[in-house]
Amino acid sequence: MKEETQLAAIIRKNEADILSEWIKAQMAKQTRRDQVHEAEIRANCKEFLAALSEAMRATGSVDVRSPDWSKVRDLLTEISTSRATQGFSPTETATFVFSLKHPLFARLRAEITDARALAEEMWRATLLLDDLGLFTTEAYQKSREEVIHRQQRELLELSTPVVALWDDVLALPLIGTLDSGRTQVVMESLLERIVETGASIAIIDITGVPTVDTLVAQHLMKTVAAARLMGADCIISGIRPQIAQTIVHLGVDLSAVTTKASLADAFAVALKRTGATVTRTAAASAAAKPSA
């Protein structure tokens, strides 16, 4: 693999020049100077170029998926991840690799006089850098997806609070779309709290659920059924007019469940069932709740 070593040799020989031109090109392209300090770019470029020339020395292959390139890959992943979290666009991240082309090609042109050999080397370098660029984009994408997944998990935990409204009365304000995974979490946390508090009535408030289709309704019914098996009654509240219409149009049968338009109505029913009454004192009539 004579040609390969030629490319590698050229990079090694001109490492310093390529590096400084590469950094200059990147600094010029960078529109928002606050994003990455020059020192960081310099360090990244230096490390990357060193890893690149080492990998090329070790192997004749330009297949970036092979184990010889693992160091380069790791480095790129690291750079992409850090840039993804700093809010770079995919283009800006990929430019890190692609901007190496210009200084590298300039060196190749200077070093190789034979036109055929030059074309050959250029082609190889292009293939290599394109692959590395694509890899950067992939790594960028992956780290962004990880962020999304983590946020999804956090949302799932955050969005299912079970609050005790009164002795024996729990409320479960649902916010966001109900899918099967979410329903499972909702169900579990509700049942756990029923056991903990010994509550006999649970109010499921769906004011924050944007749409109710047959699947969501089915999930709600499952939660209600599970709570009933534990010995707690459920009231579904917060049904908006549009949702009431949708439920009827879809032919979902909610007749087995007590439904109320608002949380306040459901709470009044719950108080009545537990035998509690709330009365307004004359002095604090403005602040007190209406009687159940």
């Binding site: 029923i194 006999s200 098996l229 534990m230």
Partner: protein
Amino acid sequence: MEKIPILRMGRTLLVSIQVDMHDQLAMQLQDDLTSRIVGDRANGVLIDISSLDVVDSFIGRMISNIAAMSRVLDAQTVVVGMQPAVAITLVELGLQLEGVRTALNVEKGIALLQEATE
């Protein structure tokens, strides 16, 4: 042979299931319970399953059957102390134990029976 004890409290029969159920035991329990309901003139049956961590479709059906038999003999059935995991499993299995009343613990179950028979 192992047997599930049936305790009498007034006109309520108390059954606490604490061992793994199998066909033989379930049949035995159904036999015992129906004859006790008739013999003791009971009007309420309370089944405590708080120590069951695993419930399969067999036990689910058995509980439904016991409830149906008791109803024929004019006794109310209350299942108490179901674990959250068990409740979720039964719902996922599509066994919602319709016609069976439920309560969180024995205390509430007895209150429910008293209310129903008054």
